[in-house]
């Protein structure tokens, strides 16, 4: 493992550390904090997301990943902080405008529109629909051509996500994994530049996982930037170019996957979340034992998976 650990990466300028500047950042956040009562859920000093790459955001439960997603996409308001997307300020911009700028997200708890058909779900994702204005909606001639354009694109995506057989079913009749797929496909209907996926693999069976991984790699091929939250370390290691680690609201480490997963701060972060012991007060032997345990957890299961 250690031979793959470089002190630098083509994605960054300078030495790898938490908050390192990127060569070509698409999203830059500064001083973003969010408190819930006395709890500081997010406290991000500085972070940059590299353009055209797949970045994983990892961290233990309650680290603040979803909250950070909500803040960046306008679904929640921070106590402090600013961030820019492709150079334009996004702080205080409402969620629908964030999406229109090309930064589209999915949700940890899947939000399919149950009593709309799968195809209608897809069509809803498309931008620039003249028929979405109330007056023009009354005259089908004004929107029919755009409608058939986006319908074509929707059919293509449904085939790609193996949902084409379900196109006329209510989304509520899909399985949990199929809904994840639908949500992702729907987000792609808007032809975004940055796709933010909150736990795209949660609840998806291993066979589907493989195809989902393929889809995410495809997005990069097509020039999109991907930022995703995930607990499955195998997936993180397999597809991400860059990994950012959050713990207790802060960015504690970042770097290429191999390097990050052997990072002491990361191991501590993961351990700290489910061991009540204060790591500082342990003997060196205790620490070594815990570290081994954590490494075993962060390591993709080498025996069982190969």
């Amino acid at each position: 493992m250690s031979d793959t650990q470089l002190a630098s990466s083509p994605l960054v300028t300078g030495e790898i550390r938490a908050g390192v500047p990127k060569v070509d950042p698409i999203l830059v956040a500064d001083g973003v904090t969010r408190q819930f009562g006395g709890l500081t859920a997010v406290d991000v000093e500085h972070v940059e997301i590299p353009r055209g790459a797949i970045t994983a955001l990892i961290g233990p439960n309650g680290a603040g990943k979803t909250t950070f997603f909500n803040l960046l996409t306008g679904f929640d308001k921070p106590n402090t902080g600013t961030w820019t997307f492709e150079g334009s300020n996004l702080a205080g911009v409402p969620a629908f405008r964030v999406a229109r700028k090309g930064m589209v997200r999915t949700f940890q708890l899947t939000k399919s529109l149950g009593r709309l058909t799968v195809l209608e779900n897809m069509l809803l994702g498309a931008k620039e629909q003249p028929g979405e204005s109330m007056l023009r909606a009354l005259v089908p001639a004004l929107w029919r051509s755009r409608e058939s354009q986006i319908r074509e694109r929707a059919e293509e995506l449904l085939v790609r996500f193996k949902l084409d057989a379900k196109r006329d079913d209510y989304a509520a009749s899909l399985s949990g994994g199929q809904r994840k797929l639908l949500e992702m496909a729907r987000a792609l209907m808007s032809e975004p530049t940055l796709v933010m996926l909150d736990e795209p693999m949660a609840g998806v069976n291993p066979a589907l996982t493989q195809s989902l991984l393929g889809h995410i790699l495809d997005l990069k091929e097509q020039g999109m930037t991907v930022l995703f939250v995930e607990h499955d370390m195998h997936m993180v290691r397999h597809i991400s170019d860059w990994v950012i680690v959050m713990a207790e609201g802060r960015i504690v480490a970042e770097g290429p996957p191999d390097r990050v997963m052997s990072d002491q701060a990361v191991i501590d972060a993961y351990l700290g979340a489910h061991h009540d012991t204060d790591l500082g007060s342990l003997t060196e032997a205790d620490r070594a034992a815990l570290r081994a345990e954590a490494e075993a957890e962060l390591e993709p299961g080498t025996e069982e998976k190969r």
Binding site: F96, V104, L113, R115
Partner: protein, 326 residues
């Protein structure tokens, strides 16, 4: 018992102006609740706003019919904004509470003694339909067939009322199969999802509230054409009856509100006829005429309960839509 007149009366209710008003108000409610998922428990308020705007601009300002109708529309748009601006960004229940309260406020305001000169106080207003009657193209003679034989003036109110119902139905039909309708139905399902797809959810909810409110206001106008404006008519019971008509037919369906309103009034008329008939025949001697009128509403409540249990999707609704836990 005179079955001929009982059934004749019920048949008359099918196309009465009141039924048209209920159908129109229920179409408005279907836009609110059935398509956009907005909980409006104050449709009676929209009807009152339309009725009073029409009557007052006609009586006080002498406006012609078309201008008075425009006033009713504008008043309901303003009313919708007053209700929507503070609540549509909040959870759905806030709109429900605010609409109930606002409808009651409207009713109390128009019956205030201090405003009697304008609103007629608790007496209400009358004599505003002359301009409308003057437009009657059917003349004075009675015509029609069977139970549907009316004077030209009565036909004029019916044609006008059902013409508006038809217009509203066509508008809702066109909108709900357009991309606009898709966004609105998406908001009903999950507004955050729709927001994440770049749609201005607040604006769409406002548009839906205004559109349904305008239909409610026009319903108010149709409702008063054959009678006087009475503040007592716009209580929560009216809102409840409109909801009954809507749920009877199916909330997110094109013809549901119309058929629901027709059934509602035909059944009310039938039960009333039967109960009064039984009383007159000496079968139900312990019931007074007033009580007979009240019993039919008990029956409506009972019918609604049965409906919710056995056909929760309404007559036109799609059973499949309700079989999901969404």
């Amino acid at each position: 018992m005179d079955w001929g007149s009982i059934i004749g009366n019920a048949a008359g209710e099918l196309i009465s102006p009141t039924t048209a008003a209920y159908a129109l108000a229920a179409i408005g409610l279907s836009v609110h609740f059935g398509y956009a998922g907005l909980l409006n428990f104050g449709q009676a308020g929209f009807m009152a706003v339309g009725a009073y705007a029409f009557a007052i601009t006609t009586l006080e300002l002498g406006w012609p019919v078309w201008l008075a109708i425009l006033a009713a529309i504008v008043a309901s748009v303003v009313f919708a904004f007053v209700l929507g601006v503070p609540t549509l960004r909040l959870r759905a229940d806030y709109l429900a509470i605010v609409t109930i309260a606002a409808a009651e406020i409207v009713r109390f305001v128009v019956s205030t003694v201090n405003l009697t000169a304008i609103t007629g106080g608790s007496q209400g207003l009358s004599g505003f339909a002359r301009g409308f009657d003057a437009l009657n193209p059917f003349g004075d003679a009675r015509f029609g067939f069977g139970p549907w034989t009316y004077s030209g003036e009565q036909w004029w109110v019916r044609v006008f009322g059902w013409g508006l119902v038809l217009l509203a139905t066509v508008i809702v039909f066109l909108l709900m199969r357009s991309p606009w309708g898709r966004v609105v139905k998406g908001i009903r399902e999950d507004e955050d999802a729709v927001r994440s797809l770049g749609k201005n959810v607040y604006s769409y909810k406002m548009q839906a509230l205004v559109l349904g409110g305008v239909f409610g206001s026009l319903a108010g106008v149709v409702f008063i054409l054959p009678r006087a404006v009475q503040p007592g008519n716009y209580g929560t019971a009216l809102t409840f009856f409109i909801w009954t008509a809507l749920l009877l037919g199916g909330a997110a369906t094109v013809f549901g509100p119309i058929v629901g309103a027709m059934i509602f009034w035909a059944v009310l008329s039938l039960t009333n006829g039967v109960i009064v008939g039984l009383r007159d025949a000496g079968v139900l001697p312990f019931i007074s005429t007033t009580q007979a009128g009240q019993i039919r509403f008990i029956l409506v409540g009972l019918a609604l309960m049965l409906l919710v249990v056995f056909r929760p999707q309404g007559i036109f609704g799609n059973k499949k839509e309700l079989s999901f836990n969404v």
